[in-house]
């Protein structure tokens, strides 16, 4: 099953459950409080997923390592390499 199908399956399951409760499709005569709670749920889910995404990406950008030492080390090694390669007869 492709990821797209997995997503469609997941989303349709959630939507079905949501529709059953908020429109009382099975005529379970659920208390009205349930229905009132259920109907804005998809929006809540979307908004909280959005917040989660923003927070995660923001946190990861802020904590992205800057490898300053790695860059310095590389510069030193480049000088070393050039000197050694010249000694070995490389024309650059």
């Amino acid at each position: 099953m492709t990821k797209l199908l997995q997503w469609l399956l997941g989303v349709s399951l959630v939507l079905t459950a949501w529709a059953l409760v908020s429109f009382d499709l099975l005529e379970l005569s659920l208390p009205p409080a349930y229905r009132e709670m259920a109907w804005p749920m998809p929006l809540y889910l979307l908004v909280s997923f959005g917040c989660y995404s923003l927070a995660t990406v923001g946190y990861r950008v802020a904590t992205f390592n800057d490898c300053v030492d790695a860059a310095k080390e590389l510069q030193v090694q480049i000088k070393e390499a050039k000197a050694d390669l010249r000694k070995k007869g490389l024309k650059m």
Binding site: T2, K3, D66, C67, L74, D84, L85
Partner: protein
């Protein structure tokens, strides 16, 4: 012949030494206009392979660079020997996937390491890749900029934001079981790379992502090693609108087809 004090240890140690002797690592270096960088990356590769004692060869696949990369490569071959440096040039610039196929045909190692020749990937991590691979007998080991001590150098906030955002989106959509999807510093068992490359059709950044997504699909095991990515020292590195659009297209294609 004398009897050793502890035969079990001797046998085990010999076995280990045999493994070490048998394993060979073929480094594939696709190049295009890397005259400045190629001698440096080769020098570093030789240095770290000699220090760690693993058996290796470096296969340079130059796609007809007009800047004379191939002449430099020939000089390097004279210096380090034609058993260590193999030249497999091609006439003109072709895709990365075909470069790997082309290089692999001539690879005599049972492991293949792919990396960029522009010094953004440092050969000092290769011994860590090899140890990681041995630790879990992984089918592939991927360098990651996004975990542990991994990171980048030379990226501004915009670049970091795009990178993290694209990675997050790909993780959510594809759940690939690896943290760095677009990284191109990886070690593969040779037969694993062969079976992946023949399945992968994408270009550019998406190619690396497709490789790791297909690996998950085929139930290959993936190990990860944090790496520092130092953005191009010589030459230009670009991330423009075109790259982003083709990345999103590729991501959606993978989303719908894998």
């Amino acid at each position: 012949m004398h009897t050793p004090a502890n035969p079990v240890c001797l046998v085990l140690c010999e076995h280990e030494a045999d493994q070490r002797r048998e394993d060979k690592y073929s480094v594939l270096l696709p190049t295009y206009n890397e005259r400045e960088n190629l001698p440096l990356i080769v020098w570093l590769l030789v240095k770290y392979f000699n220090e760690s004692g693993y058996n290796y060869e470096i296969i340079i696949i130059d796609d007809g660079s007009p800047d004379g990369t191939l002449e430099v490569a020939e000089q390097l071959q004279k210096i380090y020997g034609s058993n260590k440096i193999l030249l497999r040039p091609r006439e003109k610039k072709l895709g990365l996937g075909t470069a790997y196929i082309h290089g692999m045909k001539h690879a005599s190692g049972n492991f293949v390491i792919i990396m960029d020749a522009d010094l953004s990937h440092h050969p000092k991590f290769i011994p860590e890749f090899i140890e990681k691979q041995k630790e879990g007998d992984y089918d592939l080991v991927s360098g990651t900029r996004y975990r542990g001590n991994g990171g980048v150098y030379g990226w501004d906030l915009r670049r970091k934001l795009i990178s993290r955002g694209a990675n997050f989106l790909s993780q959510v959509l594809l759940r690939p079981g690896a943290s760095d999807l677009t990284g191109s510093f990886r070690l593969y068992k040779k037969h694993v790379l062969e079976s992946l490359v023949e399945r992968c059709v994408s270009k550019g950044y998406v190619f690396q992502m497709e490789m790791i997504v297909r690996a998950r699909q085929l139930n290959y095991t993936v190990g990860e090693v944090p790496i520092s990515f130092v953005d191009r020292v010589y030459g230009e590195s670009k991330l423009g609108g075109n790259e982003i659009v083709s990345f999103v297209k590729g991501l959606l294609t993978l989303f719908a087809t894998t």
